[in-house]
């Protein structure tokens, strides 16, 4: 248990003590207590402080939006992962700014997927999951308490019983493709985040994500043959 250090908080070295406390937490495996993970600036309208650590979000959005959400923490140096998504296009994720060197894929978690997900959530700060079956509220609560303990975030592609907030797509539009000419360039989606009755909406152009790079993400995007800019595509997700 961390020692109570409040009596010395007025000391000039309080900042140092705080940093040491953080390190003790890190060593005990409790990262980012009540912390927030940053998101790309495009999403700051939806998540003003970032995505909350220790919570589960249910996403009813295309995979590309989920990838773009992961790009924020990943570009900040956090380890991320995706479980149960065998068709995860890693190259597209890299295009959004996901650092593939710190990205773990478990394409097939098998029948006992929930156990695999909780084992992964223990070690990965941000985890994207496509559920392999139904989840009972009890199981979700158990996993939720583990997430709170570790400070990790679960992004679920599908519904989740006790989610912090749920994100869905209201409208999506593709641009750039014609009748036998052009190619897909931009993908505008209108997203809606509902959190305990409050609803926020934002229009996100997934093609502009490469504009302002978040802190720590200095990776240049690959140059594109044909001059297209990374944009994204939206398709109704399955299930």
């Amino acid at each position: 248990m961390p020692l109570s250090l409040s009596s010395v908080a007025a000391d000039p070295s309080a900042g140092e003590l705080h940093a040491l406390q953080e390190r003790i937490h890190a060593m005990q495996g409790r990262r980012n207590r009540q912390g927030f993970f940053p998101v790309l600036p495009r999403f700051s309208g939806l998540f003003p402080g970032g995505i909350r650590g220790g919570a589960a979000y249910s996403l009813d959005v295309p995979l590309s939006v989920a990838m773009a959400l992961l790009a924020g923490p990943s570009a900040n140096g956090e380890w991320c992962g995706a479980a149960g998504i065998p068709d995860f296009g890693a190259e597209a994720a890299a295009g959004f700014g996901v650092d593939l060197e710190r990205f773990v894929l478990v394409p097939d978690p098998g029948p006992d997927w929930l156990r695999v997900v909780s084992a992964l959530a223990d070690v990965l700060p941000v985890l994207l999951v496509r559920p392999g079956g139904r989840v009972t509220p009890g199981e979700a609560a158990r996993l939720g308490s583990r997430l709170r303990e570790r400070g990790g975030t679960l992004l679920v592609l599908g519904s989740w019983p006790q989610s912090e907030a749920s994100l869905r797509v209201r409208d999506s539009r593709w641009e750039g493709l014609g009748e036998g000419h052009g190619h897909l360039r931009r993908h505008r989606v209108e997203l809606e985040l509902s959190r305990r009755g409050h609803v926020r909406t934002a229009a996100v152009d997934l093609g502009e994500l490469d504009g302002p790079t978040p802190a720590g993400a200095s990776r240049p995007l690959r140059t594109i043959p044909g001059g297209g800019r990374p944009a994204l595509v939206e398709v109704p997700h399955e299930s």
Partner: protein, 543 residues
């Protein structure tokens, strides 16, 4: 070091295994025995088997020329590590008969003859003991004894299959060497110079006064001169036998259940890790050899991000057994690839193997100092992560926890290489990824990439499959799209293509001719399609 003194040079015995690299490849079961085979080095034949030689193949031939002389020729690539590895047991067997072996190179070793001759009674008997030791391993060996290592090596090379030993009497080495050509010195630069100066035999070189040789050819020439006179100044330096780090577990009778083998192997794995630890070493790369009842061998090298502990070693053996063994006998023979990639079967640990395993050998492929591989006291975040992911690997199987590495290619599935946690990406992946790959699709890239392309239909106005001509000409525009075998028909709202994909036309197996289309269908879903001769697949979906 004075080449003039004779007393310091003992009699040397050289044992030579002809065509050793080929023999080593046969011992490693890379090529069968008694077939014409050659070893390739830098594009030229460097060693050929007796069968290949009989068919007219000689050294320094190009492969094409060698294959035209002997059409059923097998070609193996030179691998010095394999040569040395396979030579090790031979040296151990020789050391049991005659102590003090120096390995000159794999396939050639030298011994001091005097002690052995005294022990066995005569030099003939000593050589006989060496040849017998080789014969017990089923190997053909030749031997020579002379006053110097060089002369003894030449004597060994002068033997024939019927007379596998040649003893040059004491003091007669210079006379024996005199007739040999200078290229036997094995120094191409010097040899070429000597030939141009008209010195074609070792005898003519030996006849020159040493001071002149030193003045004209330097130290290198002086050494060659001494060798030509049968006074090789190199003494035999016996090797210090290495501490064996390999561990072998033999099962009698053979075990055919993975969990049994894993259980029985644990003490051996412990001894393996402990044996390394005593030497202050940590194994970072492990080679596992499996031998089954039918005499089949399987070998695989496993990597590890830190170093192998007992549990990691047992896991690797288990994974190798699971990937080798066919999970269900009924599935054998139907499709060889299907058995190996059978998805969920590896989750159960009690599966039965095709043939019982009789031997497991663990050998360290790469080691590092233990001190440099230590863990921090508390274990950082990354170590916890590594530990957690490795536990997951133990639970799900080696290929279940993956990192994606950018690869090279035009198809999307080729462009990300999935590497199991703890392994390194296959060699050359980064180089392939850096190549330009003209014809890749423009960004944004699709986020859903199907591991296996999905069969779909792309139809024209009259519901006929869309055909693309050889020059990329389109008879009619795509109008209808069916995303899957049982899906409802959708309209094609907008499209682009065909983007032609023509690759590796020179290779019948890997060549590919396909047309790519990007379409946006009536349900507002965007797809990347691959077509070939009117049949269509979805390579990826933009979502």
């Amino acid at each position: 070091m004075n080449p003039e003194t004779r007393a310091g040079i003992p009699r040397a015995l050289v044992v030579w295994f002809p065509d050793w690299p080929i023999v080593a490849a046969q011992l490693a079961e890379e090529i069968p025995e008694r077939v014409p085979s050659v070893l390739l080095e830098k594009g030229l034949v460097s060693v050929c088997s007796a069968e290949a030689r009989a068919a007219g193949v000689v050294r320094r031939l190009r492969v094409r020329e060698a294959q035209s002389r002997c059409p059923d020729l097998l070609v193996v690539h030179a691998d010095p590590a394999r040569d040395a590895r396979e030579f090790e047991p031979v040296v151990v067997a020789l050391e049991a008969a005659l102590p003090g072996v120096q390995i000159l190179r794999p396939g050639l070793c030298a011994l001091r003859a005097r002690g052995a001759a005294r022990y066995y009674g005569s030099e003939e008997n000593a050589v006989g003991a060496a040849l017998e030791a080789a014969a017990r391993l089923g190997l053909e060996a030749r031997a020579g004894i002379a006053d110097s290592v060089f002369a003894a090596e030449q004597a060994a090379r002068w033997t024939t299959e019927l007379r596998p030993l040649l003893i040059v009497p004491e003091g007669a080495s210079a006379r024996f060497l005199a007739e040999l050509p200078v290229r036997t010195l094995g120094e191409p630069r010097l040899t070429s110079l000597l030939l141009r100066l008209g010195l074609s035999t070792l005898g003519s070189l030996a006849a020159l006064p040493p001071s002149d040789v030193r003045a004209r050819f330097g130290t290198e020439g002086l050494m060659a001169h001494a060798r030509a006179r049968g006074q090789d100044p190199r003494a035999v330096v016996p090797r210090v036998a290495p501490v064996p780090l390999d561990r072998t577990a033999d099962f009698e009778p053979g075990l055919d259940r993975v969990d049994q083998i894993a259980f029985a192997l644990r003490p051996t794995a412990e001894a393996f890790v402990e044996g390394l630890r005593v030497q202050g070493l940590a194994c970072t790369s492990l080679r596992v050899h499996l031998l089954d009842d039918h005499g089949r061998r399987s070998e695989r090298v496993w990597g590890h991000p830190h170093h192998f502990g007992t549990g990691d070693v047992v896991d690797r053996v288990r994974w190798q057994l699971q990937s080798e063994g066919s999970p269900a006998p009924s599935r054998r023979g139907t499709r060889p690839g299907a058995a190996a990639s059978a998805g969920p079967s590896w989750r159960s640990t009690g599966e039965t193997l095709g043939a019982p395993i009789v031997q497991v050998r663990l050998s360290p492929e790469a080691v590092d100092l233990l001190g440099r591989r230590g863990q921090t006291l508390f274990g950082g975040v990354e170590e916890r992560l590594d530990h957690g992911l490795r536990r997951l690997q133990t639970m799900l199987g080696h290929g279940s926890v993956l990192l994606s590495v950018p690869g090279g290619g035009r198809l999307l599935t080729e462009r990300s290489v999935l590497v199991p946690w703890g392994e390194d990406a296959p060699a050359g992946t980064a180089a392939r990824a850096d190549r330009p790959w003209p014809g890749t699709i423009p960004e944004p890239l699709p986020s859903t990439v199907f591991p296996e392309p999905l069969p779909v239909q792309l139809l024209d106005q009259e519901f006929r499959p869309l055909h693309v001509g050889t020059r990329g000409d389109l008879g009619a525009p795509p109008v209808w799209f069916v995303p899957g075998p049982k899906a409802a028909r959708r309209t094609v709202r907008s499209w682009a293509g065909p983007w032609l994909l023509r690759q590796r036309w020179w290779d019948a197996e890997a060549s590919q001719r396909a047309e790519r289309f990007q379409i946006l269908d009536g349900e507002n879903e965007a797809w990347l399609l691959l077509g070939e001769g009117g049949r269509w697949w979805a390579e990826a979906r933009y979502d």
